[in-house]
Symmetry: C2
């Protein structure tokens, strides 16, 4: 259990009957005062109705409540979907006695099925009564789809001798790739900041976290990251020192959540950091990290705990980045497996096999031709991934 949640926010969740088995599926987060808000959303051209609504309302820079459901993405649902998203928000505003424009929406789940809107609107009055300063854990559970564990972190930092708290929750598990690689993430802080100040901080933190992970290479239609700042700490985001401290803390928090998402990827048994160095540029390094991190053959070999470095080299070779095969070295954690494009022999393969048995490890590709660097997180590709996704809607 996480404690020490950000002051001035309350949260709660309820089982509205969208998911099966009476599971929590509708969550509400409420700020005691209107908070500054910023967000980033999916780059997919297919966008869910709640994304369209949130994207529009966020322009005003203020938010007091987020209503979120799992079990249904409310995507590819046409005009009805847009009306349903608006109805969710309207009912929430009414229950809380606030303006509709201060309510943002998010949904996650199956695409293309009509939202069971009556279940949702009929539950919101009761849901509003559940609001509690310690209710974040329930909401983190309510937004899960194929996630196996809730992802919730809260941390406090000191800025100019004052304590600032950041609380974040996320859900992921499938449809994850670097173009805004999460389904949903909500962050709450008591720092005093404007929407305009929050935006670049959020974009940078997302680029260093959710844009560096992959599970299956697909990009969701519902990806949403929101940050709300209510100013209750009295610490303003207005000096280089406070900005720097806040940015570092926000990055750490989102990187933590991003790693938790990969580790809990559909069917995943291992969290793997792909590190590329010695590339001719950072862009080239990123291209290689991205290609290796997405290679089904590399990912299945990791699942099989097979140090099949040939597949890593082959993926690097098709990435489009400059490589010199004869110069390339590969390491599994600290075990050198390939030197100058050729395997280091049976003993190093055996040592690498030991590394592969660990739940968390790194694969380093050193191109030895420049100073370009990049890193990405990926997971292995298991039989359970296929089972989960073959049977998702049944």
């Amino acid at each position: 259990m996480v404690h020490n949640f950000c002051q001035g926010f309350q949260a709660g969740a309820i089982a509205a009957g969208i998911k099966k088995h009476n599971a929590l599926d509708l969550g509400l987060i409420y700020s005691n005062h209107p908070a500054a808000v910023s967000g980033v959303f999916t780059r997919n051209q297919i966008q869910a109705a709640p994304v369209m609504l949130a994207r529009r309302r966020i322009q005003a820079g203020l938010c007091q409540a987020i209503i979120v459901n799992s079990g249904n993405a409310n995507c590819c649902t046409g005009e009805t979907g847009l009306r349903d998203a608006a109805a969710m928000a309207a009912q929430t505003a009414q229950a809380l006695g606030i303006s509709e424009e201060l309510v943002l929406t998010a949904s996650t789940g199956v695409i293309g099925a009509p939202l069971p809107i009556d279940n949702i609107t009929g539950s919101i009055a009761n849901l509003a009564k559940q609001l509690d300063p310690n209710g974040f854990d329930d909401v983190a559970r309510a937004i899960m789809t194929t996630d196996t564990v809730p992802k919730l972190i809260s941390k406090s930092i000191s800025i100019n001798g004052e304590s600032v708290t950041i609380t974040g929750m996320a859900k992921g598990a499938g449809m994850i790739r670097p173009d805004m690689a999460t389904l949903l993430c909500f962050v709450f802080t008591d720092i005093d900041a404007t929407a305009k100040q929050l935006k670049p901080c959020l974009v940078k933190a997302v680029d260093d976290s959710f844009n560096r992970i992959t599970i299956d290479g697909d990009t969701s239609t519902n990806d949403t990251v929101l940050i709300l700042a209510n100013g209750m700490s009295g610490v303003a985001l207005d000096t280089p020192q406070s900005l720097n401290a806040f940015q570092t803390a926000l990055n750490d928090l989102l990187v933590d959540l991003a790693k938790q998402i990969v580790q809990d990827g559909e069917g995943a048994t291992k969290l793997i950091e792909i590190r590329v160095k010695g590339a001719s540029s950072n862009a080239d390094a990123r291209r290689i990290a991205d290609t290796v991190a997405h290679s089904n053959l590399v990912k299945t070999a990791c699942f099989g705990e097979d140090a099949n470095w040939g597949r890593i080299l082959a993926a690097a070779g098709r990435s489009g980045a400059a490589i010199k095969p004869d110069c390339t070295d590969i390491y599994f954690d600290h075990v050198k497996l390939v030197e100058g494009g050729v395997g280091c022999g049976n003993r190093s393969e055996q040592e690498a096999h030991m590394v592969l048995q660990k739940p968390v490890f790194s694969i380093t590709i050193d191109l030895n031709i420049g100073n370009g660097r990049a890193a990405m997180y990926t997971c292995d590709f298991s039989i359970d991934y296929v089972k989960i996704n073959a049977e998702y809607r049944s």
Copy 2:
């Protein structure tokens, strides 16, 4: 069994002990006379030793023999690998009494393991004695790795009243994506053509076939397509009529082999044609076809026989091509499942589910915004794919 092989060629295979269980793993194809030759090779920057050798020798435009092994790719094997590829060719030339420069090499199998060269060179004299005009089926078997069936086609066409025969074999099964999407393919014809005439025909046929298929999105280090023409039909490739007839026949043959490769993809249970039409350009259509054909979520849904069209729309939406969600229709064979970006309801989903139970079907995405078209072949993504690739080297 295929009969009616191209005249003037002989083939044979042997178990040289590279693969386990005494399986055929070394093949030889011999032209009674030096034949005109052309080829296309992997675009991966990591290239196997036999590819480097074949790529160099093919420049001269003549070939009389191909020596090919499975069970080992002879890739990422450094200087030793280059010597081994040359030794395979030298031993073959000696056994056949021809110039080394007329022998091309190909290998397929595990990357990074040293080639068991003594097994190979020690078997070539016996292998040369197996040569037989009906030996193609044995070679088609000898080049298999995770393929479950050999892929061999022979067809005759009439050009100016004369019969011209084309025989082709291929192996695939994994590491297949559109940048020269096959491991190995060898084509033999008795048409009379120069290397220079053959090249554009081959490039066009490959673009329409092997560059339109995907199994797992990885690109091999050993991809090789070779075509040999020995002129024995007496029909010259020197008129628009003969060129047109030959190009059509060659395209058909390679498309047939390409479809067989997808159908026999690792763990595949279904062959799926992804058709895109109504795009703003052919390039955009291809971008969408490619993204949908590679989506693990679409492929696992097909394995689960789940008409999860939301994943298809989501993949199209992240492809980078222009789409208007409200205009987009989706069909499974002739069943319309989505109209204007919204599902057509339960009845059409049930009908689509029937389509998904077939071993071969098409998914059509009509964007309704232009005249751009493209098609690709893909397969479903099964539990067996993961099993095969997790355990490949053990």
